[in-house]
Amino acid sequence: MSSNDPHGYKKTLSSPYSGVKGWIDSRLPLIRMMEAEYLKFPVPKSLNYFWSFGGIAMFCLIGLILSGIFLGMHYKPSAEDAFNSVERIMRDVQFGWLVRYLHMNLASFFFIAVYIHIFRALYFGSYKAPRELVFIFGMLMFLLMMGTAFLGYTLPWGQMSYWGATVITNLFSAIPVVGDAILLTLLGDFTVSDATVNRFYVLHWLLAFAIVGLVVFHVITLHMTGSNNPSGMEPQNWDETLSFHPYMTIKDTKAMVLFFIVVAFVLFFFPNIMGHSDNYIRANSMVTPAHIVPEWYFLPFYAILRAIPDKLGGVLAMFGSIAVLFILPWLDTSKVRSCLYRPIWRICVLLFALDFFILMYMGAKPASDIYVLISRIGTAYWFLFFLVLAPLVGYLETPRQPLTISNFLRDKKALT
């Protein structure tokens, strides 16, 4: 910076555009940024459709916020009115049923998209240097998503809302010494009550917008390093990249259209398929439903909770199962990113995906002996995968490695 321009003011003013666009851009450099980050942004030319799920998740989030705003215009956050206000949205508010079903189902599809997105990161090694922070911001968003969905599920004040909220908040009572104080602070009463649903409504909004904030950090960190790709190699030159627009915008649009056709199909034909019918019964603080289950996207973690026969132990295992993901970038000792070139790790990752589904199934079953046993094996593999296999396989395995993205694409062509 020259001495007669202490704030770099002149630099800010110089926009590549002219006219109105230039006038705005020189004062608010958003247009410049969007062009650099979303139109010209170079991505590896070997990206496959797994790379579309980040954008899909983003659109789910936008849809949730939009439908949430319109729901919020009719929803009443009190123990007295909550259930009836949701019923009113379903019956009397014009198109209220659509907006609510949209919100309910987008929440589920948001998780579907994010789980695929996370699997992509695991399979192609996107969590490794230099993308550790991209991955960590992603995991933070996943945590907030789970929080937001849990808070939201309490709002319609059905039986599952009520008892789900009771069981989940009671997890905190397992913490020694301060547990009960934390529980009272969360609930604002001695049980899940009017005070609870009121604050959960506020926090449901707050966390949803906090996720939007984290998306910004996720994208900034991603755009510092650029995207990973199926080969796991960094592009060596411009020939190995494509500009985001039009190549990825078109590809992602295609993926989104297909994804949202599925969303629409479920939304219009089976809107309650991922929900639980007990939630259409008003909350009753005196009677617990005979079989309480969380929403499907929490089931693997719920199975881990129940696999441990000790209250505190179960809670620690459940939170631990997510905590280990945060340190995966440092647990995995291999220099090679993509599973396509790591024959042993590839099997471990695929088994991990299978384990996820097995635990999901177990979480939905009653806590009887055989299911608990399988949940224990599943839980053991979960931790084995992160704490033992990730460091060990990196040492033991001899990976194959393509030299460049161009080689990777040539090999792929030769195969097909």
């Binding site: 009671n170 009572s173 602070t185 009463d189 005070a195 129940r306």
Partner: protein, 174 residues
């Protein structure tokens, strides 16, 4: 701005940052306090119950602080099985006499000490679990006729709320 001013400036900087920090941190107290149960919720903290309508062998559920309280009019064999057990078999060791004021009446919170569900066993037709008291369907905890945890993930016995007998047939909880 001579170098002599530096210690003075450092002092002002430190003092103002400390004051600002302490001031901001002290806001935590009122903010977190608002999240606690309000005075109205605390004020609802006692309930009186007439026991005379409860026949032997049956139970009543009442609400105290928004939680269900199980009042069980125990039969002789239920009292006996609660008393005549080997205390070492218990997960949360407690003698039955420490859990009741009068043997006939067991008063416990109907809140599973695992994660807060309401156990089954209040109705005569309910599943009462392996020990004839209550059974929590959420994750399978079994309680005996003294409300003590015998099997399953719950760590503690069903809590006995503070209560007194006002007359032989009347109790006050809280």
């Amino acid at each position: 701005m001579s170098e002599n001013n530096k210690p003075r400036r450092d002092f002002i900087k430190l003092a103002s940052m400390t004051l600002g920090g302490v001031g901001a941190a002290s806001l935590v107290v009122p903010f977190i306090s608002t999240m606690q149960p309000g005075k109205d919720a605390l004020a609802l903290a006692s309930t009186e119950i007439d026991l005379s309508p409860i026949p032997e062998g049956q139970s009543l559920t009442v609400i105290w602080r928004g939680k269900p309280v199980f009042i069980k009019h125990r039969m002789t064999d239920e009292i006996q099985s609660a008393k005549e057990i080997n205390l070492d078999d218990l997960i949360d060791i407690q003698d039955d006499s420490a859990r009741v004021l009068q043997d006939k009446w067991l008063v416990v919170l109907g809140v599973c000490t695992h994660l807060g569900c309401v156990p089954l066993g209040q109705k005569t037709t309910d599943n009462k679990g392996d020990f004839g008291g209550w059974f929590c369907p959420c994750h399978g905890s079994h309680y005996d006729t003294s409300g003590r945890i015998r099997k399953g993930p719950a760590p503690k016995n069903l809590e006995v709320p503070p209560y007194v007998f006002l007359t032989d047939n009347r109790i006050k909880i809280g």
